[in-house]
Structures are given as C-alpha cells and as structure tokens.
Amino acid sequence: MGFAVYLIKKTAITVLLLLGILFITFCLTRALPGDPALALVGQRASPRVIAAIRRQIGADRPFLIQYLSYVKLLSRGEMGRSYSTRREVLGEIAQKFPNTMKLALAAMLLAVPSGLVLGFWAALKRGSGTDTLLSSISIIGISVPVFFSGLLLMLLLSLQLKLVPPSGTGGIRFLLLPALTLSLPSAATLARVTRTMVLETMDMPFIKTARAKGIAGWRVGAVHILRNALIPIVTVMGLDFGSYLNGAVLTETIFGWDGIGRYAVEGIIRRDYPVVLGSILVGTSVFIVVNMFVDIAYHALDPRVRILHK
C-alpha cells in the first residue's frame, strides 16, 4: 500500500470524524437553554421581530435540516456569519488563528528543550537526590493549574519586576507571559516521559554494545538513547501542540490573548452558534492533522513502525 493510499484513507476517516464532531457540537448548541434570537434583540422586542430573526438565522426549521444546511454551507467553503457581530466567522478565525499559532509555537519552543534536558538529567542521575527533586518539580508542574501559575507569573514578572505587560495581544513582549505559562505543564509532562523512556532504553543490550565498542558517553546519549526514546516524546509533543492549536482556552482568557480559544468560549457564552461551530471545527481539524503528522513522524523516526501496512 502506497503513501497516497494511506493519505486518502486517513483523510476519509478524518472527514467522517469531523462530521461526527460537528453533529455533537450541533446537538449541544441546539440544547442550549438560551434563545439566540432573544440574546440578540433582548427581552423587550416584539414577538414579530423575534420570529423574523428566528427565521433569518434558520432557528425555526427542524434540527436535521439545520444540520444539513450547515454542512452544505461548509461544502461551499463558508461558515456563516456571527449572530452578534454579523462578521464572517471564517474571516474572524483566519484573523485569530495566527495568534493562537504564535502562542502554541512559542510555548513549544520553551517546553521542548527544557523538558528534554530535565528528563535526561533526571534519568542520568537515577535514584539520587537530584532525580527525586526533578521528579517532584515535574509533578508540581502538572499539578498547578495554568490559571494559577499564570497569575503568579503575572504578579512576579509584570507587576513586581515590570519586565513585560500583564496582558494583551501583540509582539514578543506580550507573548512571553502566556507562552511561559502554557509551557510549564507541557515541559513537566515531557520531562517525565523523557526520564521513563531514557531509563528504559539505557538497559537495552544495544546500548551496552555501543558502550563496549568504545563510543563516547555523550554520543551514546545523544544518538543511540535519544533516537530510541523519541517516539513517546514525539507523541506527547504532538498531543500538546495539537491541543494548544485548539486554543489554549484558559491561558488566552487570562492574558487577553486574541486567539481562537477565547473566541470559542465567548461564542459559547453568547450563544453565538456559528462562532462555536466554526471554531470547534477548525480547532479539531488542526488537532487531527497534527496527530496525522505525528503518525508520519513515527515512520521516519523508527522504521519498525509501519503505518503503511496497516
């Protein structure tokens, strides 16, 4: 089976998955207790105006028809307009997605090197005080919610030391605080995974062989151990990067970062269905695509993994 067939199969599954996700989201939005028409014009509008608006946004039609007409809209490459701002949802998302992308990349840039170094370090010092300390730090990193660590960082870096602005969207000065916050749990997870994998690989016979052949210690570490420990590490990186691109909901909300996570939450709270549907659809598609790249990366990293023959 060739690579093209793999891609086609994967794409077909992805489309089905997205239709399913769309359906769940659709059920959820229609189950929302608030009426979007009421949310738009307020309680005091006359019943005739409300009925007209309901007709305009299609809320008076049966559920399944609404779903199918949304799918038809999507197939034309549109996502409709926001109920409250009347702006094109696709345009808004196209404008906000680069911000989310910037934040996700910056967070990964901070998390990956620090996670790898800490994990490797703990593994080399197995059983020592350093190991215990590093492992405890990484569990702390997983246990502190981002809205709290973000608050502490904001307090320290921007209110006390006045190094960076506390919130807002913009260049690297604005980016630093949310990216640092977002990178903490990710770095902690990576450090744990790296430690476990390096320890497991170190015991394997081929590492002993490499050492017996007289290969320098650092070279065994960098080439032989790391390469073999890389698959779970890449998995975690993919999951984290994918979920950051989904919109780091809490981080974006706290730091006023104008990304799609905040957009989605605002949409949910304002009962703005097209916004909710659009942002969740884009977010999940990106998540799935990132994980597809991770699958392909497995193949490149470890020839024993044969995605093509499955």
Partner: protein
C-alpha cells in the same frame, strides 16, 4: 494480588484524607460561617503576618470580609467530592462500555470505539464548557460535564484488557460449564479489570481536580455564595496586587491536593500488581509515560 504502595503514596493519601476530613467536619472543627460578610474586616492579611494566628482570621479575609479558611474548607469539600464522583461516574460508564465492546467485538466494538475516538478528539475543556452551559450551572453539572468527557479513556483501556483476557482458559472454562455472557462479564472478566480501572482513576483524579477548578474559575461551577477554589481565585484576581492572599491561598490548595492525587496515582501505577497490567494492556497509558491526566491549558 497485593497492592504495595510506596511511602510517598501513603503520605499523599494521608494528606488527602486529612483535607477531606477537615472539610467535612468544618462545622465542628472550625465553626465560622464561610458566607458571613463583614464590612469591618475587609481584606485582612493572614494571621501569620499580623500575629493574630489564633484570634480572628488565621488565613485572613477576602474582599467582602469573609473568612478565607472556612471558605477554603467549604471549597475543598466541593472540589474533592465533585472530582471523586465524576471520576467514579466516568469509570462506571467507561468500564461498562469497555467490557461490552471488548467482549462482543465486531460491529458493536467498532461503533463504540468510534464514539470514544470522537470524544477523545474533541477539545475536552470546550466540551465540558458546552455541557456546563447547556445545564443550569452547579456542582451536579460540573460532575456530569467532567464524566461525559472522561469515560472514553476508561473505555479504551478496559476494552484493550478485555481483548487480552477474553482468550484465557478460565473464560473458556466458564463458557464450557454454561455460564451466560453477562455472567462471564460480571463474575469473571470484571474482577480482572478492576485493579486497572481503579489505578487509572487514581492517575486521573489529579487532572479532575484541576478541571473542576478550571470550570468553576470560568464561573460554571457551584454558584455564589457557595465558595469553590476556582471561583475564589477568579474573584481574588482583581485584588492580586493589593491583597494577593485572596487568590494565592485557594491556588495553593488546588496545587496541594492535585499534587497529592498525582503522587498517589504514580505510586499506585508503580506498585507491583498494577505494573503487569500496564505492561500488557496499556503500555501507552502507563504512568510516567503519558503521566497523569493532561490538564487542559
């Protein structure tokens, strides 16, 4: 099979039990009204800073003069019980689905696992927010929201394990003596799955504590005047510069309890009995490989 738990696991369990006991017994141990507004004592710093550790408010007061310690205890009761019930609910549903999918196989299996993939691909915090908005906000809603996202990972894990033990001789033997399908599942396969399910639950609880706090931070949890750790932080954020303890203390409480649950989960995952299960049924989910439930950022 015996579950041997390391010292750090026992210590973590002890801390959790203590926090829970103090929270539940708060009316007896520390009878201060968590909702009592007192405009004469607004934003009083914790007693350690003022020297009045045993008189007045040991952990200070918040922006409405309410006693922070009693609010922390009330929040702890809600946070731990909601997370625990949500995990229990997720486990029950997930284990049932996993048992049926693994045992029946075929189309049932394909359909149920497709549903799991769907849930796992969905941005989990957004789904939980969606569910919380659909239902009237409150603790029950938060529990339901967390369970409706959380069951899928239990189902996947248990299904994998059922596939492994379905072919065992004791299952064949049970079938040979005429046991029905439900009987085999209930009496023979389920007991084999429980250590695995309970371990996953322990591993996940730390993440559940954080999700509960996140939802109530966003205002979707228990409604005022009831205090939750998440809502205490979001209210305290406005005073972060002038009275940082209002937001920092509940934050430390979340971190402490989540830390203990994560430690406990790791200790259980490392323990002898569970290790074999992780190795054969779910190497990818073994603690330390993927770690405790990843928190939604």
């Amino acid at each position: 099979m015996t579950l041997t738990i390391t010292l750090k696991g026992k210590l973590s369990a002890l801390v959790i039990v203590l926090v829970l006991a103090f929270s539940v017994l708060a009316p007896l141990v520390y009878p201060v009204d968590p909702h009592g507004v007192n405009l004469d004592s607004l934003r009083e710093p914790p007693g350690i800073f003022t020297g009045h550790l045993f008189s007045g408010h040991p952990l200070g007061t918040d922006q409405e003069g309410r006693d922070i310690l009693s609010r922390l205890l009330e929040g702890g009761k809600i946070s731990i019980s909601v997370s625990f019930l949500a995990a229990l609910f997720a486990m029950t549903v997930g284990v049932s689905v996993g048992l049926v999918a693994g045992y029946r196989g075929g189309r049932t299996d394909t359909a149920l696992m497709a549903l799991c993939d769907l849930i796992l691909a969905f941005p989990s915090l957004l789904l939980a927010i969606g569910v919380s908005v659909v239902l009237p906000p409150g603790t029950f809603t938060v529990m339901l929201a967390m369970a409706s996202v959380g069951w899928a990972s239990f189902a996947r894990l248990i299904r994998g394990h059922v596939l492994v033990i379905k072919g065992s001789q004791f299952v064949d033997a049970a079938r040979a003596v005429g046991a029905s399908g439900p009987r085999i599942l209930w009496a023979h396969i389920l007991p084999q799955c429980m250590p695995l399910a309970l371990t996953l639950m322990a591993v996940k609880l730390g993440g559940y504590i954080i999700t509960e706090a996140s939802l109530s931070f966003l205002g979707l949890g228990a409604q005022p005047p009831v205090a939750t750790w998440g809502s205490m932080i979001s209210q305290g954020m406005a005073y972060i510069y002038s009275a940082p303890w209002i937001a920092v203390l509940p934050g430390l409480a979340i971190a402490l309890v989540a830390f203990c649950f994560n430690m406990l989960g790791e200790a259980l995952g490392d323990s002898g009995a569970a290790t074999n299960y992780w190795a054969e049924a779910a190497p990818a989910l073994r603690p330390g490989k993927v770690g405790p439930d990843r928190q939604t950022p």
